[in-house]
Amino acid sequence: MPYLHQLLQQGKAIGHYGITHPPTVTLPRIKAMMTGSIPGFIDVVLNFNTNALQEDNLLSQLYKSGKKIIFYGDDTWIKLFPGHFLRHDGTTSFYVTDYTEVDQNVSRHLDWELRQPDWDVMILHYLGLDHIGHLAKPSSPLVEPKLKEMDDIIKKLHEHLILKGDNSPTLMVVCGDHGMSDQGSHGGASKKEVTVAIVWLASTAKNKKVFSQAYPSQSPVIDQIDITPTLALAFGIPIPGNNLGTAIPEIFLSYGSTKDTVRAMYLNAHQVASVLKQNNPKWQADAGYVLFEMAVQHHIDWLNFSGISNRAWHQQGLSLVKQYHSAIKAMSSRMMTKMTKYDIYGMFLCSISLFLLLYGILMALCQTEKSSIMLVFSSASCILSLMLCIFIVCSHVTICTSSYRSEILCNSLLMSGVILTFLLLSITFFNSLAFGFIQSIKAMFDNKMVSFSGTALFLALGCLLHCVSFMSTSFVEEEHQTWYFLTVSVFVVIVIDALRNQLTCHRLTFSSSLNTSDSLRSQKLLPNKIQQSSSVNNKAVLVTVFLLILCRFQRSWNQTGDKWQHLSDTGDWLMRPENKFLLSIVCLSFLLIILVSIWIHRIQQIRSCHQLLLLAALIYIYLFHAATKKLLTPPPWLWNISENGLKESRIVYSLTLLLILETCVVIRMKSISNNRDENVRSITMQSAVLCLKSVSIIMAALLTSHPHNICVLAMATLQEILLRKLLSFIKLPVYATALIYTWMAQATYFYQGHSNNLSSIDVAAGYTGVGRYKPVLVSLILAISTYSGVIFWYSCLINYQLKDSVQQHKTQIENR
């Protein structure tokens, strides 16, 4: 931005780093800038559905004092401040795939408006840069021309203001509502997301000197909410009631006299002090308030005492400004720590009930059918009492700790009664379970049924480690590392198990003369079985090696988390414009792999119809990504792609619907023909699950704004096939397979570039095939796109378990 930089260097403008408070999403940020307070995380949810702002704010104050406001840009403002604007034209901010029109919508009004004399305040909210970030990361080549465009607009406005001259002093503020992470998203609290630029441009040339010298800036870092009192005081309107920001003295010093500046700081401090009085019962003892009172005393002295020279008087004024500044900072930081309240009681109750639930599940898990347990309750009554407990806790938490708190229901007597009931119920319930648990363990040990393999043991250990890791915030931020490490570790443990088995087999074949110690083992295994299991173990090792390699590839595909976010990954490299051809080739081949890997899955019931639908869907997915200009477009004689991929994505949606419909029809027909047979029923179940699997893959491939994620999906499908092979070689208990699949699901979630950070949600994906902002539809698509990998693995798990049960059924029949 050459023009802005030039101004900053010449001292014609003041630049600040603004620190915003999370959540760094548009609506809470606008609220914060207008009210000066700190919105909570609940506003992220409200971000999608805006109501008028009720709190005291800058715009209402301006409106009340008769100023005329005009607004162009993000229509969130119009929803927040209905009727406040003299003229306005909003653009929907949620349609992120467009980044030129949103800005043209704003800029086209500028020339006309600049000629109009009737307005006092002009607010412009440009969306293009944010959209580019969402769409194509901040490293994208699109960013540079966009910044140039913004710079031109600033130049235009500023030159106009200078032209107007000194008779109407105007302040121009250029600021961002939030920053942008390396992934181009925002919402979290990382440094790049919370830092915004705030530039103050003076309209008049005479301010040049004053701007640079009058007030030696304490630090270039300010809070974003500091804008609020500064603007309010600059306009001479009351500061919004809930403001916690500190006015920036440099701005006033450049316009008014020292006396005015001190007066402005006093007003600001007085207002913050009144907020403090409302919220803190011990406000008189507060350090910030003491500072404020001292500053007021000095202020009075200063005003009464004018005997000394002008310069010294001025200096004293400046030190007063500093005193007020630090007093406000102290008070507001005090308030900020008080603002974020945690409902300790509710959290405590919930975590206890969660623990009880976990306990119950563990107990239930240990009660196998074979062990003879005498439960005090039957299972039905168990579930009933559990439901009752959950219901009581939930209602208790909602009534007593949420915003709907009711005083009558939550007096101490009733509360303690409820808790007592809950405790008694849960204690009896869980004790009965524990009783059964101890007995079942006893039975297991008696029958020597416990034969934990290394893998199963490691899976249990891994779950425990994962739970423990949540005690550290950095392990929450870097949860993907936990999963990558654990999945790789479990495969390595499987390899070690297999190798050990094989070595044992080797030895058994070697030693023909049976030692006494080996006789037991060799009696169990017949020679030909040994041969078989040896080759099986070889295969298991091979399969696991492939699995490990795929894991490594996926891991390098997308950097997520916080600590190593800045490192470039394979995905970034592929997304570069010069690698477009390569990316297209890779995506095509991986789409092919997806297709083949689902076709391979053929059992007797996969139908050609299903296959064709899948093929068509994958072709259209490629065309969709080509239409959004991320992949090479096919020649026009082959397919005429639409402007922004609307047509293609809608075709994919309809194909998916057809796929589901077709599966439903098939299931219906099968179940009509013979619904008695156990086998057929499980096969229909399987085809349903298969349909779910393909749908989840299609959706995941379609609903990503980064086509290189197709490769991650393809590798996941390959991994699934390999894993199924592997699990057929080594026999694991049901819970162990379920755990492995769950771990893979978690890992795939992170492989796709997601993280526990709110900002890693790919907002642009929610708009595939949606022409304009429809809240329900968009959030549905967003949810599907975020969890597509997880859905895929869970459907695979169901599929595997079903198949397993069918096989067991068959072997049982054969044995009979």
Binding site: Q481, V488, L503, T504, H506, F510, I549, R552, S556, G561
Partner: protein, 193 residues
């Protein structure tokens, strides 16, 4: 800290420190080897083939550990030297004792590593050493994602340290276990007598 020369500082100079650690572990293992040999006059001439085989085992296991580290998330294209040195150290700590004590006796290897029933003596020490060093290396990766921003939270420093710590723990445990087992054996002997 000032007793350690600059070159050997693990944090500032990983590669050299790792090399020195490798050397120390190797010397230690050879010592183990000399102790375990009854008549070591003919050893080198007689078992030339075994020595070559052992060296081959070491090299291949070093490569194997390197690839394994990459699978676990070590950078593949960058920091190759660090990864390789870590693999070398892991080989020295986990494989070398076994190579030295078990030789090329395959059934002995199977007995120790597949059946987990090593004989009392050097085989037991080797087994415990390898398990402990590998566990230490695995656990060493845990603090890397933490946000403490310490200089040692960098690949492969914490893992190298974990390996060495595991080796040390292994030595202590194995000596304790040996004492315990020998005592039991003696008692049984006394009973029989």
């Amino acid at each position: 800290m000032f007793l350690i020369p600059m070159q050997l500082n693990l944090i500032k100079n990983v590669i050299v420190a790792t090399e020195v650690a490798c050397l120390l572990v190797t010397i230690h293992c050879l010592f183990l080897f000399i102790v375990s040999m009854e008549n070591w006059k003919f050893v080198i001439i007689k078992q030339l083939k075994a020595t070559v085989k052992g060296i081959f085992t070491l090299i291949s296991s070093c490569l194997f550990f390197h690839l394994l580290a990459v699978c676990f998330g070590a950078p593949f294209l960058t920091e190759t030297s660090e990864t390789f040195h870590f693999a070398m150290l892991l080989t020295c700590c986990a494989v070398l004792p076994a190579v030295v004590t078990l030789g090329n006796n395959f059934s002995l290897w199977v007995k120790v590593y597949a059946d987990n029933s090593p004989d009392i003596g050097c085989a037991l020490v080797a087994f415990i050493l390898s398990v402990c060093s590998i566990l230490g290396a695995w656990l060493g990766a845990f603090p890397i994602p933490l946000d403490w921003d310490r200089p040692w939270q960098v690949w492969p420093i914490s893992c190298v340290f974990g390996t060495l710590a595991g080796y040390g723990v292994g030595l202590i445990t194995s000596s304790g276990l040996l004492l315990y087992k020998i005592q039991i054996a003696n008692k049984q002997k006394n009973k029989f007598m």
